[in-house]
Amino acid sequence: MKIFDFFDLDISKQNQSKFRKIKLLICSLLIIIFFTIIGYRTISLASINKSNVSNKVYAGIENETIAKSLRGNIYDRNNKILATTISTFSLNVNPQEILNIDQTIVKLRKIFPQLEEKYLYKKLNTNKKHINLLKEISPREYVNLLNAGIEGLKIETKNKRIYPNNTLASHILGATDIDGNGIAGVEKKFDSLLQGGSDITLSIHCGIQHITRKLLFDQIKKFEAEGGAGIIMNAKNGEVFSIVSLPDYNANNYNSILNENLFNKATKGIYELGSTLKLITAAIAFDSNLINENDVFDVSKPLKISSRIINDFHPLNYAINIPEVIVHSSNIGSAKIAEKFGSSTQLKYLRSLGLLSMLSLEIPELGTPQVLIDKKVLSTMTISYGHGISITPMHLASATATIVNSGVKVNPTLIKGKTEKNNDVIISNKTSLKIKSIMRLVVSNKYGTAKKAEAPGYLIGGKTGTAEKINPSGGYSKKENIVAFTGAFPMNDPEFIITIMIDNPKGQKFSFGHRTAGWVVAPIVKKLVTRVAPILGVNPQLESSSKFSNNLLNYKIRGKNHGANL
């Protein structure tokens, strides 16, 4: 039977009741389909469809004032805010919507007296549709504006990154651009984390950072120096408590800062740090077993290698042992030690101490060391006392930490609690003990070059370094120095590393014209340790009552006129 036959009246006459049933069935089906469509539509409209409903609801609310998720905060090790993001308001105006300009100016000046009438009149009397009147207004001014009910005003909300401590730790924190993307420092290194709203806790200690900065700043001013760097870090786990680079800047005004101030001297700048490198030379000498502890080196005459003459700043007229080479800071002695252990041994240790490669600190501003690797005797000799090797002060701090930490490699970190167990042993515990004992003598012995660094009770040890600056045109400048100190305290069980560098200090009347590390840097070390040790929980010790004498070796250091006794 064909379906069209149902509508044929002639056929229907033959079996009307049968057709009626079929017609009824079709109508019922149509009604069911109709109701199903209506039911489906009812359910689909009634159900929760985010794309249709919620987004519109959310969009309406989101657009009102409050911005999207804020960039994460940066905290110091004691959870003090170093960087945060706040919502600020900017005041815009559409002059076309203003009905009475004079009245509007009066109302605006009541809230913003700093805006001059002429300026406002000029701004509002224009054909433009969008004018920015003020880039930032305070929450109080915002409320006053709402209460004033001025037509044509548009208040926009935007996020602003702020650094409440201004200059403090500016080189570490870095900055963000106008769109809130990290462009320097920790802000850049952890940009994706911070953008996702995560907070970061640094190992930096606000108070210690301030003290380091202040003392360094004062000394730079006193000696009319160009700048400097200061670092305090944990000698055992590498957590950095302060990194100062001067001149610095107010991170809130990053875009208007001179490039010179933005340069991080502590982690990016590479310098020949002079005799501070002698500590490494002594460590290589002891650890390589190529030199006997009792070997002595004649330093009575200048050393001539090729066309170069190596001199001592404080000449001695007799042969001296390794501790005396370090305490008297003898270039000749150091060169002769290096000659004995040779270039390949020297480079092997420099590499393992991390002095030939970039550090893995958590900021992008890191310097790559420059070392004269020609394996010539002269280069080996000059590197032994810090010439021909340019490293960052942070490299020096890191190497010092490794040496005093029983020879176990210390990797500096800016993140609190980032404890990477490092088992790389660079030098033996025995060598470490010898170097620690010598470092203490450099400060405590009457012939030591860092006598002015002695802070009673804190058992400071270290090594000074004074190096002539490299001329941009080549060669060394006789007039400009880089002075540095690297050390640790307390030397019987070193807990903290302190490294200071000052760029180009000038001789002063009160320093009798001296501009060496002993005069310029050592006094800061004393002041700095005296102030930060109580904060760091390092108690002063009496040398007589502490375990000091049992922990360190007691080398005898001879003075200037002891040549005949050898």
């Binding site: 706040i86 202040k214 002063p540």
Partner: protein, 101 residues
Amino acid sequence: MIRYPSSLIFFVILFAGVSLYQIKHFITKKEIELAQIEKNIKSAQSNINILKAELSYLKRPDRIEKIALDKLGLREILPTDIWNLNDLVNATNILSNGENK
């Protein structure tokens, strides 16, 4: 004539439709409330951030140092201001031995 099952289905569909509309309306209302609460949370977080930043600004080490030195007349701690208990006992013993002699 409308049969009983058909009318039942009709009322069930009508009831379901009305109920779903009510639920939708209720959910939309709740979503608005939720969005409002989230907005308030963000606003509160923003205000907290402002307050924290202000507190941090007021607690700047240079400001605290200035107040401590200028207003409170405090001075920097010297090693002699801090005593280890063992050293103190030793010193007391030395002193008392000296007095006995």
